[in-house]
């Protein structure tokens, strides 16, 4: 039974309950970095790490946190993990760290992490909370990586910094600018929701 539950939690976060397109949460801090694939990967890895471990920690501590101050305690737990991420990035990939700027710190206020801690970790044991955090993080990561892939491809004609489009390609500079991120995410949500809706209609 435990195994089935783990599987369900995992798949829900990737699909139906995906934090980005089903709940539209936590897009704030990471839309900004999706114009380059490499930065997005680093950023989302940070988010996965923080989501998983903060969920785990909150779950371990759920019986000792007084409910009045629980938001504050959760925020502090999340902030500690974000500091770890920041220091690690600064040490190992200083270039990317500089480009990400304040957005690494803004993982703290990413609503997904807080949302998972509130909705899941507070009422579930530690093991499954770790899985849930991991799955939400990955569900979030892959959507952003898809968006980053298209934004970099269309905006600069490159993937992972390598030129893939020939000389015939004209860069859509709008894609690497802020409006491009909004349009891209909207189109992505549109496609996914459209597919889900037709799928449900067929079933019923």
């Amino acid at each position: 039974m435990a195994k089935a539950k783990v599987k369900k939690v995992f798949l829900d976060s990737l699909g139906k309950q995906n934090p980005v397109f089903a709940q539209v949460l936590g897009i704030c801090s990471t839309l900004a970095v999706t114009n380059v694939l490499k930065n997005t990967l680093v950023m989302t890895m940070g988010v996965v790490f923080v989501t998983a471990l903060s969920n785990f920690t909150v779950s371990l501590m759920r019986k000792v946190i007084p409910s009045r101050v629980r938001m504050m305690v959760e925020t502090l737990i999340i902030a500690s993990y974000v500091i770890i991420v920041e220091i690690a990035l600064k040490a190992f990939v200083p270039d990317i760290w500089r480009q990400l700027g304040p957005y690494v710190g803004l993982i703290i206020t990413n609503c997904i992490i807080m949302g998972r801690a509130e909705a899941f970790a507070l009422s579930n044991p530690a093991g499954i909370s770790l899985v849930d955090g991991l799955a939400s993080g990955i569900g979030y990561a892959y959507v952003l990586l898809i968006i980053a892939f298209f934004r970099e491809l269309m905006g600069s004609g490159t993937i992972w910094g390598y030129q893939v489009m020939g000389s015939w390609w004209t860069n859509w500079s709008i894609m690497v600018m802020p409006p491009g991120a909004f349009f891209m995410l909207a189109v992505f949500i549109w496609i996914v929701k459209g597919l889900l809706l037709t799928h449900e209609e067929k079933k019923s």
């Binding site: 539209v24 839309l31 900004a32 500091i83 206020t109 609503c111 802020p178 991120a181 349009f183 929701k193």
Partner: protein, 196 residues
């Protein structure tokens, strides 16, 4: 740039060219969920502007007089978020005592603000761009007003949109994001007005 004009330039840049929401994507969560009605948008916008302006001031003081001398730069995330949360709590208690009507209008939005990424974002930008005290304040105020402007415009558009027919699958978040994109496009017209 002339040092007397600089804080003013920062203010206008924060409202128009570097709008915290439309150019830096911050504060999207509450922007998407609260912009349905004009009245609540005004309440939240006012609360955000107020908290942003004061916390950027407070955090500047904390950062330059406590964190830097003690060489605790890496603790700034935790310290900033605690300052913001404590300040919001304080304001909530004061408003509750002082004015019933103000509390009814703003009170419910205050807890939301602690986790609003725009507030923390302003404080982090202020550190990275190395603003002085006055510029930090005008930056916070300007960003708040810029956010206010964006959510107000969005609420107005969404009220009209309630009667429009939106393609299937695009209702809700999708169409709001597209409108936000168009607004960002419009605000890009301000680029070049002020260079920072």
């Amino acid at each position: 740039m002339n040092s007397a004009v600089y804080p003013l330039a920062v203010f206008f840049a924060a409202v128009f060219t570097n709008n915290i929401l439309l150019a830096n994507y911050l504060g999207m969560c509450s922007f998407l969920s609260v912009s349905r009605e004009l009245k609540t948008s005004v309440g939240l916008g006012a609360a955000v502007t107020f908290v942003m302006a004061t916390t950027s001031l407070l955090n500047w003081l904390v950062y330059h007089y406590i964190l830097l001398p003690l060489d605790l730069d890496y603790l700034r995330f935790i310290v900033f978020i605690v300052v913001i949360a404590a300040f919001v709590q304080l304001v909530e208690m004061i408003i509750e005592r002082v004015s019933e009507t103000l509390y009814a209008a703003l009170g419910i939005f205050l807890p939301l603000i602690t986790v609003n990424c725009a507030i923390l974002g302003v404080c982090l930008f202020m550190v990275i761009r190395d603003y002085d005290l006055l510029s930090s304040f005008t930056f916070g105020l300007g960003s708040g007003i810029g956010w206010f402007l964006a959510i107000l415009a969005m609420a107005g558009i969404r009220q009209k949109l309630a009667r429009a027919r939106v393609p299937r699958g695009l209702e809700g978040a999708g169409i709001t994001l597209i409108i936000t994109g168009m607004m960002a496009l419009a605000f890009m017209g301000f680029t070049g007005m002020i260079k920072l």
